[in-house]
Point group: C2
Chain length 361, copies 2
């Protein structure tokens, strides 16, 4: 099958510039799209991403200096894992102009990207996301990092990959639950900034769920475009970029409350969005029809497991959000589909109330 | 004693901007110069820097959220130490707009600065160097990091401190050997880029060695100005900034060959400069009188312990230099006092030859 030319999307600018390629057939053409100044690559692939790693490995051939499989569970997203990646890279003779390649889900791209950020004070890396969550979100925008016992992603760096390859074929073997949970992030991009994309993807939802490539590509390319546009306006995540956090303020707390095992990240975000809809209806003028449209799509992406809504469990988890400054929580509200804003007046109490009444049906 | 106004030196620009303050009395006025968006500070001080930490602690008073003493030996400059700093900061309730303060020598500012780089994907920090090496060099320019079993500073990030306080009083209790070794870095700055400063400091050397504040301040401010100028021209260390590495290509290898215990960093750099003089005489047109002038100053800063010159020991250590790209070593040669250049044609063999004949007398 001959692939059509991939779409090229510039993410960021200057020293924080990435090029995202979105299209079919990118994996086997990886040698054309992955970037290394020296021409040498160090591959780090998730055990679960074997099918996607194989064509990349073949495409790069003798230019692969190191080829290592790594753990990709949320529990392995630690500074220790990053240290092991760094050890292996240095043992292989890494030089400043070599590049790492991360092939896997968000855990893999976050950890390998962070290793690239701190090796020799920063070497180049490339992201080959193999999950819908990674393609729509995790691998785009330059955030890398690992978890800490006190919270997710509390240790990390901004270190954008030189290239990001978004090939839907990489998600072909993704388990159904992960496939659907990841799509929450893709839709999130549409809801906060692109009403047309949201409408089109809602219509295409059956085809997307059937994994039809054209429909999936349209949604993924759209959400990458949304993220690229927002990142461009706020590369260091101090202002407008925070709207990408839609559904995440409560979502992170729900995820942590379940010990990160009960809910997938995207599932927790779906519940977080459901709660944000409640608050947005009351405080951001969100219409009943827009709230219903978001809820319908979320319910068709699900059903998602019920989260723990216990306020005494959620309250302390809300206050450790990375986005918290001394001014308070930065909450994201939806004014209408396609238009989100940051609101610093929403209190943890408001979120706990919304958590008690939120629904996805 | 009333202090004259400190000199303000801008280092870097944009998101990588630091302000260096150089003057007497800065420690007890720390509240005026240290930067924190929230007004809250987390202090990390080297055990050996107790005398300098005390006035800073008093100046900040109730704004100190955490006050922790840390190890400051080269052996403790590890990712584990950074993880412990991060643990303590998160346990204390660090928020994105808080700032860390590092009080100590290069080990402390490098490790604490690196912790700041990776906490919450980067929080602000301030550097209060308490050694001549830190004041002249280590704390300026945004390089942070830790050592790896395979080499020094192989793990790290560019993350400039918001403010750097260079108060000669902080070095008052510095052991003589460290005081003198650190001055090598200060003179290095003069030799590579400021002939007038080099001439003035050579004349003032007796006063500098007697720790007279005015003479020391002049040299330190000059070397900070040199470094600031060079960093401004090349913030990410990919071009001209490499001339700051004068004496370091062989110096790092000599330091590593002694297991980092035999030679102080500045002492190893002094020997590295001695070797660079040999190569510069032959290949960069350095005059005999300029080479002699540098050597005389180095010998008056010493005597420094003899390094291990065994080529079989040094050869493998030369090739792991962080500055190495696939093109080869980036060596720094001196054309004349005040003018250095990068030379990629010098081979490890050239350095081993120079190491065999270099002299500091």
């Amino acid at each position: 099958m001959s692939a059509s030319a991939p779409e090229r999307i510039a993410v960021g600018a200057g020293s924080a510039a990435s090029t995202a390629w979105v299209g079919s057939g990118l994996l086997r053409d990886a040698a054309r799209y992955l970037v290394s100044q020296s021409g040498r690559f160090l591959l780090f692939s998730a055990a679960s991403a074997h099918a996607a790693a194989e064509p990349v490995r073949r495409a790069l051939g003798p230019r692969v200096l190191l080829d290592l499989e790594i753990e990709d569970s949320e529990a392995s997203k630690t500074l220790d894992t990053v240290a092991r990646i760094a050890d292996a890279a240095l043992a292989a003779g890494l030089r400043r102009d070599d590049a790492l390649v991360a092939i896997g889900g968000g855990v893999t791209t976050d950890a390998v990207g962070f290793a690239a950020a701190i090796l020799l004070r920063g070497v180049a890396w490339n992201a080959v996301p193999t999950t819908t969550a990674g393609m729509a979100d995790a691998a785009i925008g330059g955030k890398t990092g690992v978890n800490h016992p006190r919270g997710k992603n509390l240790i990390g760096a901004f270190h954008p990959p030189a290239a990001i390859l978004v090939d839907p074929a990489a998600a072909a073997t993704l388990p159904e639950r992960d496939y659907r949970a990841g799509l929450v992030e893709a839709f999130k991009g549409a809801w906060i900034a692109d009403a047309e994309l949201a409408a089109r993807a809602a219509v295409n939802l059956p085809a997307i769920l059937a994994r039809e490539e054209a429909a999936l590509l349209d949604l993924l390319a759209g959400s990458v475009r949304v993220k690229a546009g927002i990142v461009a306006s706020d590369p260091m995540d101090s202002g407008r970029r925070r709207i990408l956090n839609f559904g995440h303020t409560l979502g992170h707390a729900l995820e942590a409350a379940g010990g990160f095992g009960r809910l997938r990240h995207g599932e927790a975000v779906a519940w977080g969005i459901a709660a944000a809809l409640e608050i947005s209806r009351r405080r951001a003028g969100l219409s009943a029809s827009d709230a219903a449209a978001v809820r319908v799509t979320l319910s068709r992406l699900g059903p998602f497991p019920e989260p723990d809504r216990d306020p005494s469990l959620l309250a302390p988890l809300l206050s450790v959000d990375k986005k918290t400054t001394s001014r308070g929580l930065a909450s994201i509200l939806l004014e209408s589909i396609g238009a989100a804003r940051v609101d610093e007046s929403v209190t943890p109490g408001d979120w706990l109330e919304a958590a008690a009444i939120m629904t996805l049906s």
